[in-house]
Symmetry: C2
Subunit: 389 residues, 2 copies
């Protein structure tokens, strides 16, 4: 039997979040939580917020929200925009659509610039749209579109928006922050959001947010009714070093440890690491004869792959799960069953990628797809070895 | 860089003990220990000792010692033999020698029947020796010789000893119990010892022991001065359900969980699992063009491999450690630098073996050895897939 008996079975997550948690961090998570209205916690909270500035590459204050990343997306909308505001969403996948839904929910006039799934947003398309629509108050997009494995050209889009409008540049960096370069201050972005269960190697439960000075100014004249996600309440609490609501203390304690490690590593090493894992994965997948979903601008967080003809896509996901205990993501919406995705953001190393490539090869073979076992693994091995020289 | 930054680095153990510990068992280890003179612990201790009977395949009582496996080896000698007793050790590797050292230490007259490293002990050689030496009181050997990756023919040796003498059959099963079939009662073995950090998926600190009725009888007329390892003290305590000395309670709590899993799996599934991982590993290694150390009678616990000509053996070990965070074992004594060993006993699955095979390929390539990347991995993939049909 290929499948191990449950007592020998490992659980391996190769989904784009939650991602694996290092053992040392699991140990931290097993500690008793501090009380959140104590000097100890206030000291920790202050340190963590400073360390997040390092990851966001900003001198602006950072916010920790006890919510999923979607909560941080909503926070941007309800604090920086008002009912009736015109906003532009660059929609090139599942998560682009989420900005539209939240904006619509709060009564904004949502414009959508659609790009085909698998394509990156085109800055010149954005320029044309903004020239034709003079009242856009915010441009929303993803740094890394998790549903397609595409990285959008954040810096170029931000420049276009700045040149053509006074709209705020709002970036969902949930699977990008801590993966690829995304300097809030240097690229003059207005809002960047992320979440704990991605490059931060933690379980879900925390979202992160930072705003530009321009966005903080906008807060004074904008906003819709909001309570839990009200940044004014948060600012009042932060004046005393605390959070407005009871924070997810255990996750913040563990985050402190993760951020200490990320600081010690330095951002260039972290970005190079993800770039290397992503490229090795893409080489392996291509050597198997499979087609990458993102022909250009692939994300370093997740690799999306076309299900080959003659194979049922959902069977790839279920076979990996049932036979190897591996969780990967399939395609979403219209790409359900036609795409599968391998993540490499957070606590992964090159051997992990060999492992999942080997398991994908065996899965395709078991599903009757003609495949040369070991070929994808060998391509990744070769790349990782070359990178070592 | 091939090496991951430390924050992304996984620690992977492929040594023949300590072996990896499942996450659920780590969680159990993080619990506060019970006090060992309480009803709760006595109930647990009783259950664990019964569950060990299942693994030893015996109706005889089992002993838990808070020591390494060597302590259980010493326990056999000091309780079952007396100063001046003649004993025979089948010495086919590092651990055979350990029986000699302990016997000599307690004033026994130790005979040694040597077999080349990599060879299994020959039952007919044992027969010849016993016919020439009429006073042998015990025959000592390993079920699996960890230093050479050889499985000795336990049942055949035991039959010869029984036919030719009244010597006790003493089996070091430290890397064999819970890996391959080793029924104490059915094969009429007199003493079998094992340890927690092998097939039992736990950290080191516990040793296990069971004796035949014949061995219990021998205890009445044998023994040397002993205190910590005195089975009479243990029996007195066990009459009240307790251990003589403070036991490693945390490990015993976790062992209970492991044994529940092993019971649920059943021994045939556990043995088949190890056999499959071992065979897949051997196929992968052979496909790389490497030479297996044990040409015949390979152990299902650990695969020993000749270092190929032109490669420095210790560099294989250090490169795997420094580049991949993988711990494997090298050769011991005269085979230092000339052999390396990959373990597959305990909490491993088939993907783990692909992982280490891939890392060994990359290591040999990095060390200048001509190797076709992916070929060993592919052979293991092919075998594991065939086994699935």
């Amino acid at each position: 039997m290929l499948k191990s008996h449950p007592i020998f079975e490992h659980r391996r997550i190769f989904a784009p979040g939650p991602t694996p948690v290092p053992e040392e961090v699991l140990g931290e998570l097993a500690r008793a939580p501090l009380h959140h209205r104590t000097k100890e916690f206030i000291g920790l909270f202050d340190r963590v917020r400073q360390r997040l500035q390092f990851v966001f590459q900003t001198t602006q204050p950072t916010y920790l929200l006890s919510s999923s990343g979607t909560g941080a997306m909503e926070t941007c909308i309800v604090n920086l925009f008002s009912t009736g505001d015109e906003i532009l969403v660059l929609n090139a996948g599942k998560f682009g659509e989420r900005w539209e839904k939240i904006g619509t929910c709060y009564g904004m006039k949502v414009h959508s610039l659609k790009f085909e799934w698998g394509q990156a947003a085109d800055p010149e398309g954005v320029r044309g749209f903004l020239r034709a629509h003079g009242n856009i108050r915010g441009v929303f997009f993803q740094a890394s579109e998790t549903s397609t494995g595409v990285a959008h050209p954040v810096e170029a889009i931000a420049k276009v928006v700045r040149a053509e409008s006074d709209a705020l540049v709002i970036v969902d960096a949930i699977t990008a922050l801590g993966v690829s370069d995304l300097p809030l201050d240097r690229w003059d972005l207005d809002a960047v959001v992320s979440g704990s269960q991605k490059a931060f190697m933690l379980p879900p439960g925390l979202a992160f947010l930072a705003l530009s000075a321009r966005a903080h100014d906008r807060r004074k004249i904008a906003g819709v009714p909001r309570f839990y996600f009200d940044l004014n309440a948060e600012d009042r609490a932060l004046a005393g070093g605390e959070s407005a609501w009871t924070p997810a203390v255990g996750l913040i304690m563990a985050l402190d440890r993760v951020l200490a490690g990320m600081e010690a590593a330095g951002l260039p090493a972290i970005f190079a690491h993800h770039k290397r894992l992503a490229e090795g994965t893409r080489r392996g997948v291509s050597a198997m004869g499979l087609e990458l979903f993102a022909k250009k601008n692939p994300s370093d967080a997740v690799t999306a792959i076309h299900v080959p003809a003659g194979v049922e896509g959902k069977k790839i996901v279920s076979h990996l799960r049932d036979t190897f205990g591996i969780t990967i993501a399939g395609g979403q919406d219209q790409w359900k069953g036609k795409m599968f995705r391998l993540a490499h953001l957070g606590f992964f190393d090159s051997l992990d990628m060999l492992t999942v490539l080997g398991a994908v090869e065996m899965t395709l073979k078991a599903l009757g797809h003609p495949i040369h076992l070991g070929k994808g693994v060998a391509a990744a091995q070769t790349f990782f070895l070359e990178e070592n020289t």
